[in-house]
């Protein structure tokens, strides 16, 4: 990675921290401690399940909201503030700017997820009194959530490279929702015939498959995640995020900034 990309990424990270993005950790801490203490009193036999389900769901949703709402402003904000011209007037290529922004936001989300993961494990220790071997699978679920962040961040950047922030947010969120139904879409394609089948199959493979990256329920029930799935999901997320990033670079390279 070139030094210029690292600089852009670190500045993006610092800007996100200055924008008080990490304040969501306070809400998360309150949520986890509240759940850990209260659930045992109002429900039966699901204290551990709730900590894992609620914790991982919150990590995922908080991160996706941050990825979308910060990601859509990464390019447009620089244009509005005219700081983009200062950056591009230096020996920085447009693609380096996009890639740097991507790594900056991805880094922010990873740091955010790291602190939330500490919160999840602290709450887990509180309700279970000890850790067990199967808790290691929670780390796999967290890893998959970070892979989701990479895809969403790349998509938000892609949309923000050619659209307004509002529309970018709508597109990115819509694609996230559709992505959770990717497997249903593929099932629907299988039921159709002719050109509709081709179109539906194409759409099903074009949208990101988020359902494969969601193993929260499985790990909550201490079910192991296959090593092959970890490898395949890693490769898929990297390839898909790379594809979206390439699209963002291609559009941004041709964008008239005058």
């Amino acid at each position: 990675m070139s030094g210029r990309i690292v600089h852009i990424a670190s500045n993006t990270f610092r800007e996100a921290v200055r924008d008080r993005v990490l304040y969501n950790l306070i809400a998360f801490a309150l949520l986890m401690s509240g759940a850990a203490i209260l659930v045992g009193q109002i429900s039966i036999g699901i204290e551990r399940l709730v900590v894992i389900n609620l914790g991982l769901t919150a990590v995922s949703l908080f991160g996706i909201v941050i990825a979308i709402f910060i990601g859509i402003g990464l390019v447009s904000k620089e244009i509005d503030k005219k700081t983009l011209y200062t950056v591009l007037s230096r020996p920085v290529r447009r693609w380096e700017f996009i890639v740097g922004k991507f790594f900056g936001l991805a880094g922010t989300l990873v740091v955010n997820a790291f602190f939330m993961a500490l919160g999840v494990f602290a709450a887990l220790l509180y309700v279970s009194r000890h850790f067990q071997a199967s808790d290691g699978w929670v780390l796999v679920a967290l890893y998959f959530i970070i892979l989701q962040f990479l895809i969403i961040t790349a998509l938000a950047l892609l949309f923000s490279s050619f659209s307004s922030p509002l529309l970018s947010a709508v597109f990115a969120f819509a694609l996230f929702v559709i992505g959770t139904f990717a497997e249903d879409l593929r099932g629907f394609a299988g039921l159709t015939k002719g050109i509709v089948r081709w179109l539906a199959t194409g759409a099903a493979y074009l949208v990101p498959n988020f359902s494969a990256l969601n193993v929260i329920s499985s790990v909550a029930h201490e079910q192991p995640v296959a090593g092959q799935l970890i490898l395949s999901n890693t490769a898929y997320a990297l390839v898909y995020a790379g594809m979206a990033l390439c699209g963002a670079v291609l559009i941004f390279e041709r964008r008239n900034l005058k």
């Binding site: 659930v39 109002i42 429900s43 039966i44 036999g45 699901i46 399940l49 709730v50 894992i52 389900n53 609620l54 769901t57 995922s60 949703l61 929702v177 959770t180 139904f181 249903d184 988020f210 359902s211 969601n214 929260i216 329920s217 909550a220 029930h221 079910q223």
Partner: protein, 309 residues
């Protein structure tokens, strides 16, 4: 005082007043609305639709619905309501959202199957729930045990109970009680010993203090039923021998029919009534007993379970 400070103090005071007023008004509104409006509503009744709407976060939604089912059942039981219309749908939604949530099958079946006031009196819905659980978790012997339990206790269908226990006995990881129960069901042995065996197994295999307390209460009730039957038989025997009823247990002891004054499982002595009946001293402390209660006794709405260490 500066104008800015005056505004700060006024705005803060107004904020606190408005917050207090809104809380008081909400409490008033809650009193004006009927309980039915607040509780008997299941906005989305389709489990499949809810699963789709959860966007993959179905585990958390299942936990929420399970908590809602627990609260609904507990609230209805406390109020003494005999209508549990939403209980089965809530449990179906919970288990569709998370088919591996074993606690929902185990407790859910126990909420649904027993007759009021112990449960909702819906054994068929309980069987449907247990069978759904077995389809999704075929290697969990406890679910077969629960199914057999419902067939035995609530429907007295020995053939189906035997099949449930026998199916559970075939699992690679099962409990030693399963083949024994299957054999007992095959013999149609619906006696106190079989019931005691089942409750002892429940007591030994659960880690949950509520289930333990329930099992202990049922075991105590079985002991009382057995004791009262035996003591009343001895009283009849004494009458046949002497021509009159005993005045106290000491008479039975003097006639060599009894050794010592009998006590119930909580340590209280039984009472021998003038008409020859035997009663427990504190029936409220011994829920589920079918014998030994005073004439016209009405048990409390919520069974008083013993503390379990």
């Amino acid at each position: 005082m500066s104008p800015s400070r005056r505004i700060t103090i006024t705005a803060s005071a107004l904020l606190v007043m408005c917050l207090t007023a809104s809380v008081l008004l909400l409490r008033q509104i809650d009193r004006e609305r009927t309980g039915t409006t607040l509780e008997e509503v299941l906005y989305i009744s389709s489990p499949t639709l809810l699963k789709r709407m959860s966007l993959g976060y179905d585990g958390l939604l299942a936990d929420i619905y399970w908590t809602r089912a627990v609260q609904y059942f507990g609230d209805k039981l406390t109020r003494g309501s005999e209508h549990f219309d939403l209980l089965a749908p809530l449990l179906e939604i919970t288990t569709t959202l998370d088919p591996h949530l074993l606690v929902a099958y185990e407790y859910g079946a126990n909420f649904l199957a027993p007759k009021f006031p112990e449960g909702a009196g819906q054994p068929l819905r309980a069987i449907k729930l247990a069978e759904f659980g077995i389809r999704n978790n075929p290697n969990q012997w406890h679910l077969y045990y629960d199914l057999g339990f419902i067939y035995y206790f609530d429907l007295e269908d020995y053939a189906k109970a035997e099949k449930a226990f026998a199916d559970g006995a075939k699992l690679p990881r099962t409990h030693q009680i399963m083949p024994i129960m299957a054999a007992k069901m095959a013999e149609h042995v619906g006696n106190i010993q079989t019931a005691r065996l089942m409750w002892v197994t429940t007591l030994q295999t659960t880690l949950d203090p509520n289930v333990k307390a329930n099992a202990v209460a049922h075991l105590n009730a079985l002991q009382v039923d057995e004791d009262v039957t035996t003591l009343e038989r001895l009283t009849s025997h004494y009458r046949e021998k002497t021509g009159h009823l005993p005045q106290s247990f000491a008479d039975l002891e003097a006639a060599n029919l009894l050794r010592g004054i009998p006590t119930d499982p909580l340590g209280h002595t039984y009472k021998l009534m003038p008409d020859g009946r035997v009663e427990v001293r504190v029936p409220d402390d011994l829920p589920f007993i079918e014998k030994g209660t005073p004439i016209g006794y009405i048990p409390p709405r919520t069974p008083k379970l013993p503390p379990v260490n």
